[in-house]
């Protein structure tokens, strides 16, 4: 079982890889809309990648209003 810290790190790694951002440039508290320069639909694409990676389903409503990596990771963690 992953810890929240591990899940958060994996989310950061996947986001940096998917959006071609240098590894290590993202932090858990970052607003991913601002930091990655993405819109809400691109965020949904990222969620699909995260679902595949973690083997979970994350309903859209679970991430409604979520904008930072740490909260996103906690929502994933609750479904692992």
């Amino acid at each position: 079982m992953r810890t929240l810290e591990q899940t958060t790190q994996e989310v950061l790694d996947l986001a940096s890889k998917h959006f071609h951002v240098p590894a290590g440039s993202l932090a858990p508290e970052d607003d991913f809309f601002k930091k990655l320069g993405i819109d809400s639909l691109q965020t949904l694409e990222m969620l699909s990648r995260l679902e595949n990676h973690f083997g979970i389903e994350l309903p859209d409503y679970e991430v409604q209003g979520v904008s930072d990596f740490r909260t996103l990771a906690s929502r994933i963690q609750s479904r692992l």
Partner: protein
């Protein structure tokens, strides 16, 4: 299509549509690969009338206001019809607003009933605005887990009256809904929409969207917006067409829905269209020729 010139209200037109097209499919609801629900107009009526009866039994009626804060789905439309059936005024609010913004508009609108989804209620129920919005007396929550503490709300699925509700006629000049602007130019403004406004809009819009039984509309824009309310609910319904709802608006599922459900019409904003185009282009590179061909048809 019903002849809307003969009707006085949204509720009256919908009431006739449910009977006239009773065997036609009116709603399809899909969640990822799974089809969650497929309702005929007869099914829709069977779901809406017990809700209307329960509203009637609690004393909700003429000019009373009921708000809906939900993502696009069948229960949105069923709830709206029930409100119109008993003579109420609909207050559709944006589910993407913050809980305090939603409470502010609930207070401003004077809504006494709120219909919402469990994930939204989880946030609304603990927001500060709840304690100053005393006008909302009844909250109905959909799809709540069996063990959930609803914080004073009732389960939508269990809020049913027995027996047939009495239809409450409204006149064209009567208020049908209060639609709030987004607030990008300041505080949101509530637009007072009469039944006449909707009936005339519908006549205009259905000259562009040629709905009829068998035609399918993909409802993506939020139903609280005027355009989806008209062409993703009222318009298709008074023509016997079907509305398709997707519970997951991931580009890959939206893309698949077009062919899977043989969509005839969709209304989009440019951002969604651009993303769909990107998704199609990406998918087409790894797809066999048949899929690449469908991309070309959509974006030549």
């Amino acid at each position: 299509m019903l002849d809307l010139s003969k009707y006085q209200s949204i509720g009256a037109a919908l009431q006739d549509a449910l009977d006239q097209f009773s065997n036609e499919v009116c709603l399809i609801e899909s969640d990822r690969e799974r089809e969650k629900e497929r309702l005929t107009y007869r099914d829709f009526k069977a779901r809406a009338h017990p809700l209307a009866k329960a509203l009637e039994d609690m004393g909700f009626g003429v000019d009373d206001r009921a708000s809906i804060i939900m993502t696009n789905q069948s229960k949105w439309l069923i709830s709206a019809y029930a409100v119109f059936f008993v003579g109420g005024v609909l207050v559709p609010l944006d589910y993407k607003l913050t809980p305090d913004e939603q409470w502010h508009l609930l207070k401003h609108s004077g809504a006494t009933v709120l219909v919402t989804e469990y994930p939204i209620w989880r946030q609304l129920s603990v927001a500060e605005g709840r304690f100053t919005t005393t006008n909302v007396k009844t909250v109905l929550v959909t799809e709540a887990p069996p063990s959930a503490d609803l914080q004073g709300a009732a389960r939508w699925e269990e809020f049913q009256g027995s027996g047939e509700p009495a239809f409450v006629p409204r006149a064209r000049r009567d208020l049908a809904s209060i639609v709030y602007s987004s607030g990008t130019g300041g505080r949101p403004k509530g637009c007072l929409m009469t039944h006449q406004n909707y009936l005339e809009q519908c006549i205009a819009l259905t000259s562009i969207y040629r709905f009829s039984p068998g035609v399918r509309y993909l409802s993506i824009l939020p139903t609280n917006h005027a355009i989806d309310f008209m062409v993703g609910f009222f318009g298709p319904f008074i023509c016997g067409a079907a509305v398709v709802h997707l519970r997951t608006l991931r580009p890959e599922y939206v893309r698949e829905a077009f062919s899977k459900y043989k969509i005839t019409y969709v209304s989009l904003v440019p951002l969604v269209l651009k993303n769909l185009q990107k998704a199609y282009r990406r998918a087409s590179t790894g797809f066999p020729p048949a899929n690449a061909k469908s991309l070309t048809r959509l974006w030549p």
